[in-house]
Each structure stands twice: as structure tokens, then as C-alpha cells.
């Protein structure tokens, strides 16, 4: 998985806002331009929200890509129900999207439901440690980058969209033409899935479209025709906090939405201090996937809609049994000895003592610690510090 954030120099005001909000210190400003450390970026979207002039953006594919395939299939996320008032509107929305040029529109709620059931089964078998949900690509990356101790606690199951795409791909195994699978994305962290899936090296998804980019076309061409949609209740629970209305999950589950809550939960989990908790249901977006930043509605209205949909939903879950092997993406452990690591740490600390410790970001680095590392590496000098650098000149 790589960063999906793109940068336009001409629109950048160098205001440092992106640098300050990044939860993983992936942003720096060097030589008058923003640099994103692709290996650290978790695609949470904070920098894009903070950017005052749209200098940072995340873009998906466009409908133009439909022309490259003989059969076009759209995968529609369950969270999109949150933008619909009732079942009729869901079915009209699906029909409208189909008219953009898709042969099939596939509802992902059955696959989200399958993940929900598989997760329960897995969590009830592995009771000796925490199980952390893996449906949110941001959280998966956050754990990889910042909480590597918990990497083995991630639920070893691919994303529902990936499971669906694999399933559909297999249905066309004997088809001679080309099949294009397009995932509609409710949040930007799913945009890079088509190229860089989590868990598997080759994604069955060809293109990722931002739902928000389709809204102008949807509102212009909204159809009163209907496409049958069998909303799966477990799928709805998966993408909201509806997991709490399930007696099976309730006794041992916590739900944390938004990066602040999530990080609090992960900090406690690292210390083994979530007693009585066994399953952690974590999402970057508020109220789960229905809070996705590429949707039209908001997570609060979405929650009300979802509660109503849940009452009527009777669709079955999909058949998937594809628990991944214990092989998780390995943490990038540098092949250097403990002795060298301690020496490096001591050098950085000695340098850090020269810096003011305000983490003001004016040097272009998110914290004094990173600046100290840069100085130790010989890429910066103390003079680049706006506070200590100047006092050096004066003396």
C-alpha cells in the first residue's frame, strides 16, 4: 500500500498545516516544497482536510476507464446506503450507477457480512490475545507504522471489496474478453487498493473511483428504475457501530472510531491493559465506513439511515472462507546491530538537546526529534532551526 496523496506545488502556501496534523510524521518541507514519505503515509486524509488551498489531493480513476473493458462491473460499498433514505432510494441509486455503463453492479453488504461472520468465528477460536479488525486500510497501515507490536493481532482477512473482486473474477474464468472491476470508494484510503492491496500482492480490483466524483453525474441522471438490492444486516453492522446490537459480539468488543480514540485503544492494547476486551473494531472515519470522506452525507445522518435499513435488511452473507496465512506484512526492521542502534540513538539524543523541543515545524520537519535525525545524517545543520540557528548568528 502506498500513499495516494498528490501534491501541487503551485497551490502550496507553505503554511505547515499539513505537517502539523500528520499523525505519523510523514510530511516534511524541504527546498520549499512538501515531501510525503510514501513509506510512512497511512492515507488518513488529515493533511488533505487541513490544506487551505487544495494543494494536497487524492484522486481515483475516472469513468473514461470503462472503455477499456468488454464487461464492466461496479462494486458498491455498503456505506453508500448511509446516503439513502430508504430501500427504494438504494435500489434507484444502484440502477443509476449501472446506467453509467456497467453490465453488473455488485452490492458489497453480503461480503461485509461475510467478514463480520468470519471475524466472529476467528475471534471465538483465538481467545488468548486481542483480535484487531482489519477492514480499515488506514488502521492497518497505522499499526504497521506506529504499533508494530500489534501487527500479529490484526484479523487475517482481506478487505471485503477484495474478497468480492476475487469471487467475481473467478465467475469469469472461462470468458475470453476483458473484465474490468471498478470499486466505488467511500474513503480515500481505498483508492490505492486497485494497485496496492493490503494482504495480497495482486489485487483483483482494476480501478478505484471516488464516490464523491460520481455525485454530479448521479444527481443529473438519477433514475426511477430500480435494481434489486438484498441488504445484508451483518454487512450494515460491519460498517457502522451496529456491532453493539449483536449479543454475540457485545460482551468482549470495543469500537473506536477516529484516530484519537483508535490510538488510545492501541496504546492500552500494547500494555495489555484492555481487560475483558477481546475484539477491537477500529476505523479511521467517524461512526465507521459511513463516515467516509468521499461520501455525500455525514456520519450522523448516515447512522440514522443505517438504523432504518438494518430493520428491513434480510439479505444473506456471501460465502467466503479465505483466512490469510499468519504471514503479515513484515515490519521494516533495519538490519543493523543493537550496538549501532544504541550509538545512533545516543547521537540523535545529543543533537536533540541542542534543539528547543517546541516541535514548531518551522524548520520543515514535524518534530525536533526528526530534525535531530536529519542533522545527525548530515542533511541539515543546526542553523536551519529558526530558534537556535538565529541565536547562533547573534552570538
Amino acid at each position: 500500500m502506498s500513499s495516494v496523496v498528490s501534491y501541487t506545488l503551485a497551490k502550496c502556501q507553505k503554511c505547515l498545516k499539513c505537517l502539523r496534523v500528520c499523525p505519523v510524521e510523514a510530511i516534511s518541507i524541504k527546498d520549499e516544497r512538501v515531501r510525503i514519505n510514501k513509506g510512512r503515509c497511512i492515507n488518513c486524509g488529515r493533511c488533505i482536510d487541513a490544506c487551505v488551498n487544495q494543494g494536497l489531493q487524492a484522486k481515483g480513476s475516472t469513468l473514461d476507464d470503462l472503455d477499456n473493458y468488454d464487461i464492466r462491473i461496479a462494486l458498491i460499498p455498503t456505506s453508500l446506503y448511509g446516503d439513502c433514505d430508504d430501500q427504494k432510494q438504494i435500489e434507484e441509486l444502484f440502477a443509476t450507477i449501472k446506467k453509467f455503463g456497467f453490465e453488473r453492479v455488485v452490492d458489497l453488504s453480503a461480503y461485509d457480512g461475510a467478514v463480520y461472520e468470519e471475524t466472529y468465528e476467528y475471534a471465538s477460536k483465538h481467545t488468548d490475545d486481542y483480535i484487531i479488525s482489519s477492514f480499515c486500510p488506514v488502521i492497518n497501515r497505522l499499526i504497521e507504522v506506529k504499533y508494530p507490536m500489534l501487527l500479529n493481532n490484526l484479523m487475517p482477512l482481506d478487505l471485503s471489496a477484495e474478497l468480492a473482486a476475487q469471487d467475481i473474477r473467478s465467475q469469469y474464468a472461462n470468458f475470453d474478453g476483458s473484465v474490468g472491476i471498478f470499486l466505488l470508494c467511500e474513503c480515500m484510503s481505498k483508492l490505492p487498493l486497485a494497485k496496492y492491496p493490503y494482504g495480497e500482492s495482486n489485487s483483483a480490483i482494476d480501478h478505484a473511483l471516488a464516490v464523491v466524483d460520481l455525485f454530479p453525474l448521479i444527481s443529473r441522471s438519477f433514475s426511477d428504475e430500480r435494481e434489486q438490492v438484498d441488504c445484508c444486516p451483518e454487512g450494515i453492522r460491519m460498517v457502522t457501530s451496529g456491532i453493539f446490537s449483536d449479543e454475540r459480539y457485545r460482551p468482549f468488543t470495543i469500537v473506536a472510531d477516529g484516530l484519537e480514540k483508535v490510538q488510545l485503544a492501541l496504546d492500552l492494547a500494547e500494555f495489555g491493559q484492555l481487560k475483558g476486551v477481546h475484539y477491537l473494531h477500529l476505523s479511521n472515519c467517524i461512526n465507521g465506513c459511513i463516515g467516509g470522506n468521499l461520501l455525500w452525507g455525514n456520519p450522523f445522518e448516515g447512522n440514522i439511515h443505517m438504523r432504518q435499513h438494518l430493520e428491513n435488511a434480510k439479505g444473506p452473507t456471501a460465502e467466503v472462507h479465505r483466512i490469510l496465512s499468519a504471514e503479515q506484512p513484515a515490519a521494516t526492521q533495519q538490519a543493523i546491530s543493537m550496538q549501532e542502534r544504541l550509538a545512533e540513538f545516543a547521537r540523535v539524543n545529543a543533537q536533540l538537546e541542542q534543539l528547543p523541543g517546541y516541535d514548531c515545524g518551522a524548520c520543515g520537519f514535524a518534530s525536533c526529534r526528526i530534525m535531530a535525525e536529519e542533522i545527525v545524517a548530515g542533511r541539515q545543520t543546526l542553523n536551519h532551526c529558526r530558534i537556535r540557528g538565529q541565536s547562533e548568528d547573534e552570538s
Binding site: M149, F271, Q273, R341, L342, V348
Partner: protein, 138 residues
Amino acid sequence: MIEMNYVIHREDYANAGKVSSQIKQLLKQIGIQSDLLRRIAVACYEAEINMIIHSYGGKISLNINDSEIKFSFVDIGPGIPDVQKALQPGWSTASEKAREFGFGAGMGLPNIKRMADEFELSSSESGTNLTIAFKVSV
């Protein structure tokens, strides 16, 4: 060789876990292996909480060298009345106040012992001295 010292105050529940968080952060910065770090984090947290709940206050020292990460938790009393019993799972002398905060399940010391590669505990009325060490595989 890195040496760090931290002071722990009696019944300082408001800051419970802060020293362990700092130590965890420091060990992440050094780049300690994840599975080893998890054991250290759990043990260090338990020991810090023990000191806050049960002791009159004390000091945590951390020593890191090429082959080993070593902690000593030294407090100024009142001591553990029966060290053997304290090592049995479920045995606890935690106060009502501590239990209200959800501490005092009697798993602290047994857990620490399970996590550490080396474990040494001595106690008298004038204080308790817990030393734990973790081997670093290079």
C-alpha cells in the same frame, strides 16, 4: 549503554502508566524488536502500577546495553509481607481505592515474571527491589 531514571510517587493514580509510555516510546525509537517490546511494555506497566498502588514511592531505572534491557524498580517501603504469596496468581493486597480503579486483580507480579527473561525480587519493611532483564537477540 543508555541509562534512564524515573521517579514514581505514592498513589499517583493520575499519572499511572506515563513512565511506561515514555519508556515504550524510547524503545520504539531505538528500534527494539516488536515481540520483545510487547513483553517489556506489559511487564514495565505492571511494575509501575504496582509501585504506585502498593509503595510509598520509588525509582525506576532502565539500563540498555548491546545484549540486555534491564529494569530495576526500587521503592522505600512498606515491603511485601510474603514474597512467595505475592507471586501466586490472584493473590492481592491492593486497597479498596486501588480496586475501584480496576487495579489489584493479583496478576501483576506473576505476569511480570512470565514476561521477563530474568526476575529477581527481594523485599523488607524498608523497601522492595525488583530487577527484571530481557535478552536482546542480535
